[in-house]
């Protein structure tokens, strides 16, 4: 079980409040159930004060009884005169509210009547007296102090005053005065009233305390639920955001764990299954963690892990991360009886004390994660100082989010009349005066959700340009994953009025689910979009697919074109390919057109359009439309 709110100082308020509440409640409950005992003690005090005069008289009587030098009990038994004298002395104590006055002594662990001057119901000498609480008498032998015993459940008997008769510093007998019930009622009726009021107040306060406790617990529960991801021990990102300033990150090793190729899993099995698999993965990762570690779902497929440095060496931390990686790698996950293999890449930062801020620490872990991804995924990579020299995902993410993403444009020219038919939008990031190219951006985001976010930004960027400039016609590159993304298709359908000026180039450099693509392409064509297969000849190119996908353009990959005039094999393949396209009414665009020789050859083959540095390198929009 994780210490879920290890960073949350606000949570401490609830913790201490609940602790205080529990202490108060325990004391209160203890007090409430101790109330009868307290009441009895209080009653005894009141009774003690009420019978102070009688008490003095009893002491005097005992003094009278003990005047003889001989043993009090034996002289009572042997000497009738003494007995009479004792009876007389005892009779002085009889009052209207006292029902019995008698002396008992302890013999063979039983109380035996010695003398009874009660008006009625007298106990005979030698008769056994059965006390309700024998321990009381035994205690009095030790304490030698008087006791007041409040009788319970007896109709006519209220309480009994018990005085020890001490002879030669030893308790030899007990003098008992039974007070009638009405005496008790008179003496302590007020006490009972006050105690009843106190009892009611305590009961009321108790209920209030109970309700307050329930409120506190419900608040804690709600707070816990707000941050906890159901069925896992992981926390939501909002927890990190809410406690950002409170996190003492230097006390922790920091790891960023990223699920490899999650998007691919989502595309194949659907997002719902993907989410279930993430939950399953989180559950399993949690089992590898300790109570003091903090596990946060940082993004859909990315988790942030804080491992407490105390009692963990750097070596142990790395071992722990490696164990997590291996555990995920070996994890048997199933979707409808089909085994799904998942892996994670982990970036770690052990020297978190060198980070300037938590943001910086996470960035550094992300740098390490980038390296793990870049080196082939399913591995743990640690942050090193030299890593800073490279441009990493984290910074890229920031730049993309900060709208530093722009498009450069390269014209596609008719080889016949050299007229520009449209432009291809090419992704760039402008960071001050520096331009970052897609080969430094896209590979690390491939198969991640961020890739689709980039694509969406490109679409939005170009839609804006098209709407601003009625003459502007542009093709954008979308991956097959992008075309299976409902949000992207939604935006394209929404902007169908400009579909004749927004061409879609499908990247052909990775595995494509052609059956799904066929449906999407038909849909886009229905809305008027022109479809082009990009980089044909580099990926999983297949002639059958070309026919089935019913595309408008085919773009021949530059690597095939640039050597066409010197490589006979490339020459032959391209010639065949172009013939196939012409026969099937597919227009061909050749990339990497770098010289006139290539243009002449392409024209000879019947290629319609060309693109390359011979015509223009990719330039900012303003270079083509300076006044727009």
């Amino acid at each position: 079980m994780h210490n879920r709110f290890i960073f949350s100082t606000f949570h401490k308020f609830y913790y201490y409040a609940l602790l205080t509440y529990i202490i108060i409640f325990v004391f209160f409950t203890y007090g409430y159930f101790k109330l009868p005992e307290i009441q009895e003690k209080f009653q005894k005090t009141v009774l003690s004060l009420s019978i102070e005069n009688t008490d003095k008289m009893v002491d005097e009587t005992i003094s009278l009884i003990l005047q003889d030098e001989t043993s009090f009990i034996s002289s009572h038994i042997k000497n009738n005169k003494v007995k009479e004298k004792q009876e007389l002395a005892l009779s002085r104590l009889k009052r209207g509210n006292i029902s019995s006055v008698f002396i008992v002594f302890l013999q063979k662990e039983k109380l035996v009547y010695l003398l009874d001057v009660s008006t009625r119901d007298r106990g005979s000498f030698g008769e056994l007296f059965q006390a309700e609480d024998m321990s009381l008498f035994n205690n009095m032998i030790e304490t030698k102090k008087r006791e007041i015993f409040i009788q319970k459940g007896l109709k006519n008997l209220g309480f009994t005053l018990i005085k020890p008769i001490i002879e030669k510093d030893k308790v030899v007998a007990f003098l008992l005065l039974d007070y009638q019930q009405k005496s008790l009622d008179i003496m302590i009726s007020k006490v009972i009233d006050y105690m009843n009021i106190l009892k009611n107040i305590l009961a009321f306060v108790g209920v209030i305390l109970l309700l307050f406790g329930l409120y506190l617990m419900s608040m804690m529960f709600a707070r816990e639920n707000r941050y906890m991801i159901a069925n896992t021990h992981a926390l939501k990102r909002s927890y990190l955001m809410d406690n950002y300033e409170k996190i003492n990150f230097s006390d922790y090793y920091i790891s960023l764990i990223n699920i490899d190729f999650l998007k691919r899993i989502n595309d194949i099995y659907g997002e719902r299954v993907g989410d279930k698999l993430i939950i399953e993965l989180m559950k399993n990762i949690s089992t590898q963690l300790r109570k003091q570690d903090v596990f946060i779902q940082y993004g859909g497929e990315e988790f942030l892990l804080f491992v407490l440095k105390k009692e963990t060496s750097v070596h142990e931390f790395r071992l722990m991360m490696e164990e997590i990686r291996i555990m995920v790698d070996m994890l048997e996950l199933y979707v409808k009886d089909e085994k799904v293999h998942m892996t994670v890449s982990i970036g770690t930062l052990s020297q978190s004390q060198n980070a300037k801020s938590l943001h910086d620490a996470i960035y550094k872990a992300d740098v390490a994660l980038y390296r793990a991804k870049h080196n082939g995924r399913n591995r743990v990579s640690s942050y090193e100082l030299s890593s800073d020299k490279r441009l990493y995902r984290y910074k890229l993410k920031e730049m993309i989010s900060d709208d530093k993403l722009v498009c450069y444009y390269q014209p596609i020219v008719s080889l016949v009349n050299r007229k520009i038919i449209h432009y291809e939008a090419l992704l760039r990031i402008e960071d001050g005066g520096k331009v970052i190219y897609p080969d430094k951006i896209l590979p690390d985001f491939e198969d991640s959700y961020f890739y689709s976010r980039i694509s969406m930004k490109v679409i939005e960027f170009n839609i804006k340009k098209i709407r601003e400039n009625p003459k502007f016609k542009v093709s954008i590159n979308l991956s097959s994953d992008d075309l299976l993304n409902d949000s992207i298709i939604g935006v394209l359908i929404k902007n169908r009025d400009i579909s004749n000026r927004l061409l879609i180039e499908i990247l052909e450099n990775k595995f494509i689910d052609y059956s799904k693509m066929e449906v999407v392409i038909k849909k886009l064509r229905f809305f008027g979009y022109i479809i082009c297969i990009d980089d044909f000849g580099t990926g999983y190119s297949n002639f059958d697919h070309l026919l089935n996908l019913s595309i408008d353009y085919l773009k021949l990959d530059g690597s095939m074109i640039k050597n066409i005039h010197i490589d006979n094999r490339a020459h032959g393949i391209i010639k065949t390919l172009i013939k196939f396209c012409i026969d099937n009414d597919i227009k061909v665009i050749a990339e990497y057109v770098e010289n006139q020789k290539i243009i002449d050859l392409l024209k000879e083959f019947g290629v319609d359009y060309g693109q390359g540095y011979y015509f223009s390198k990719p330039l900012p929009y303003d270079a083509f439309y300076p006044n727009q």
Binding site: F102, K108, V112, G126, L128, Q130, Q151, L154
Partner: protein, 145 residues
Amino acid sequence: MRKVVFCWLMLLPILGFSDLDYNKVTKVLLSIEQNKPLKYFNENVSLVKKFQKNVKGLQFSSFAEADILFMSKIKKGSKLVITDSYEKLQKSDKSVIGAVYIKKERTHIFLVRERLKKSGLRVSSKMKKYLISECSLNLLCLLSS
């Protein structure tokens, strides 16, 4: 005069055990064990009901079937008796195994250890405080230390 005596005789069984702490008495009586469940007899039905109302489990039966009689007037016979005063207990023969009575508003219960043993009866250790020895009933024996 005869009528008055008759009425008093009729009332004796009721008065003898009146105002008892029935709960306490029943618990003590239930703790008396033999090989079979013990059956008690008292001629006063309302008293029996009072017993049964408080703690269930104490079996009352007819005189013939009873093992122990609740009697204020001790009849000599083969039945064991629990009487209603300390004095009667002191003066009785070995068939009277104990006494249950009110003295100074308090319910007193005494069971004579030797007599119980002789009748093949046992009392659980929890009820030890109600057991007295035969010696306790004899003043000379009691005072000799």
